[in-house]
């Protein structure tokens, strides 16, 4: 017999029938796990009876490493948390440090942070939508989404010299001011991006096959979303209107007019389409921010090179593309933090996978995983 015998378990279902259960490992190297996630999947035929995520393959001990580094040296580490949205981790960390050290950030820096983070949201959502489409086999939608992301990454490259790990937001400001004509290119992009978003909406979200694949899949109730600590599009897809940009309006977000897209079914489709609509809102925010941004310093003057915040603790959070990203820092007054904790939204969202995947088919498992949009750099830290 060719097949592994131990991967099949004879179990008895509630009616007393013998069910032959197939246990397969989805991952850790599998095209649709969006990284290195392993899901031990128990299958009855094609139906998932139990899906158990096994994480930690990308665990680098960043929280431990952070205890051994100065405050500035941690910024590049945060790049490696959510490598699809490095700006968020940068910003959340810097906000906590600024709160701890009492640094006032110049207004231009705040605007630049908002602009890059909204761009990052688009880039991250494009990645998520593209790979969610790729999970359902729509390779072309994947390319279209990545094409949009590429435009943003090019802008980032011009801004800070890196395409993925930006190390751009620093305690007290940002590392570079914008190059010449950068805002013009950005506005040109948002204009074109809207058209592309409409096109992608019709190509993928309007498609009967895509709807068939995503509607009613992995339904998450609003109560579960709150209780399980889901945030970001995962919570909003279930109709939970929870967006820190509105509810704990930080930085200069109160000055912008934007909406929070919410779903009503809580299925994979609503989660994914929430992301698409958030890209529209991000375009709006970017355009308003570019209109409002003024001249001025992009870095707080008088911040020391070697930060030594007062002893104490600070928590700050921002709305990343995946949800509320919190950073908790305990300082003992030295140049290195005593404890840094990253509350990663992807980690909390991924915990929902066993709940959502049960009873769906193996094909749906990858769709559900894709709709949770985990980034394993952030899950495993």
């Amino acid at each position: 017999m060719a097949l592994e015998v131990e991967s099949r378990e004879e179990i008895v279902d509630e009616r007393g029938n013998e069910v032959s259960e197939l246990v397969i490992n989805v991952g850790p190297s599998h095209p649709s796990t969006h990284g290195v996630c392993r899901v031990i999947t128990h299958l009855d035929g094609e139906i998932v009876t139990k899906a158990e995520p096994v994480i930690g393959y990308l665990h680098r001990g960043i929280e431990k490493m952070a205890e051994n580094r100065t405050y500035l040296q941690i910024v590049p580490l945060t790049d490696r948390l959510d490598y699809v949205g490095s700006m968020y981790s940068n910003w959340a960390y810097c906000r906590a440090v600024e709160r701890l050290a009492g640094i006032r950030v110049p207004e231009r820096a705040e605007y630049l942070r908002v602009i890059v983070c909204e761009m990052q949201r688009i880039a991250s959502h494009m990645m998520s939508l593209g790979s969610a489409a790729g999970d359902t086999g729509a390779a072309t939608m994947f390319i279209y989404a990545f094409d949009e992301r590429e435009r943003i990454v090019e802008l980032f490259e011009e801004l800070c010299g890196a395409r993925l790990t930006y190390n751009y937001v620093r305690p007290g400001g940002v590392s570079y001011d914008t190059p010449e004509d950068w805002f013009d290119t950005l506005l040109e992009f948002t204009r074109k991006h809207r058209t592309a978003l409409h096109e992608m909406d019709r190509l993928f979200f309007g498609n009967v096959i895509a709807r068939g694949r995503m509607k009613g899949i992995g339904v998450l109730s609003a109560a579960d979303a709150v209780g399980w600590g889901a945030s970001g599009p995962v919570a909003r897809g279930s109709g939970v209107n929870w967006d820190l940009r509105k509810h704990d309006s930080y930085s200069v977000y109160p000055r912008f007019d934007f909406d929070v897209p919410t779903g009503s079914n809580g299925d994979a489709y609503d989660r994914a389409r929430c992301r698409l609509f958030e890209c529209f809102e991000s375009c709006r925010i970017i355009e308003q921010a570019v209109a409002q941004i003024g001249e001025g310093p992009f870095k707080a003057e008088g911040a020391p090179r070697l930060l030594k915040p007062r002893p104490g603790e600070a928590y700050d959070h921002i709305e990343s593309a995946r949800g509320s990203l919190g950073v908790y820092i305990v300082s003992d007054g030295s140049e290195r933090p005593y404890r840094v904790k990253f509350r990663s939204p992807a980690f909390c969202n991924l915990a929902l996978l066993p709940l959502l995947a049960q009873g769906h088919t193996l094909s749906d498992l990858v769709v559900i995983l894709g709709s949770l949009d985990p980034v394993f750099g952030e899950v495993d830290r």
Partner: protein, 153 residues
């Protein structure tokens, strides 16, 4: 709602919790005994704190401090709930029955600090391999594989 209003609200509803509440660095902190942690959390949940945002621990040498970040959507306010866990017997009660969000986060704290949670349905290591020895985020953790930081800053 700001922190002061939250304090008044909390004191009005639960006078026994009031003396434990303090405001540190602009955040409300409710420091409770670990024996009464579950009840306090339950009270806060009924008060409107419906989200358990973050759950972690800090090793302060002589004791661990459990830190729970609770957020209320209806009140738009967040606060900390803390309790000190003795280092010799690192046990406390699990909050999974109140918030399933604690399911994985408590596993992570167990993984990194070795704090055990009574009532947790599935307390295993989560990020590290099951055969890992030691709890890395404890300050006394030693590992030969750790690269030593150079002496200078």
């Amino acid at each position: 709602m700001n922190i002061q209003e939250l304090r008044d609200h909390l004191c009005g509803q639960h006078p026994d919790l009031c003396p434990l509440f303090s405001i540190e660095f602009g955040d409300g902190v409710l420091q409770v005994d670990c024996e009464t942690l579950y009840e306090a959390a339950e009270n806060l949940q009924s008060l409107g704190f419906d989200r358990l945002g973050m759950l972690t621990a800090v090793d302060f040498g002589d004791h661990f401090e459990m830190v729970y970040r609770l957020t209320s959507r209806s009140m738009s306010v967040g606060m900390f709930l803390k309790c000190a866990v003795p280092r010799e017997t690192p046990r406390t009660r699990s909050l999974v029955p109140l918030w399933p969000a604690a399911l994985w986060q408590e596993r992570e704290v167990y993984d990194m600090f070795g704090i055990e949670f009574d009532g947790h349905p599935d307390l295993r290591r989560i990020l590290l391999p099951p055969d890992w020895v030691g709890f890395p985020l404890r300050k006394d953790y030693r590992d030969d594989r750790l690269i030593r930081r150079p002496d200078y800053i």
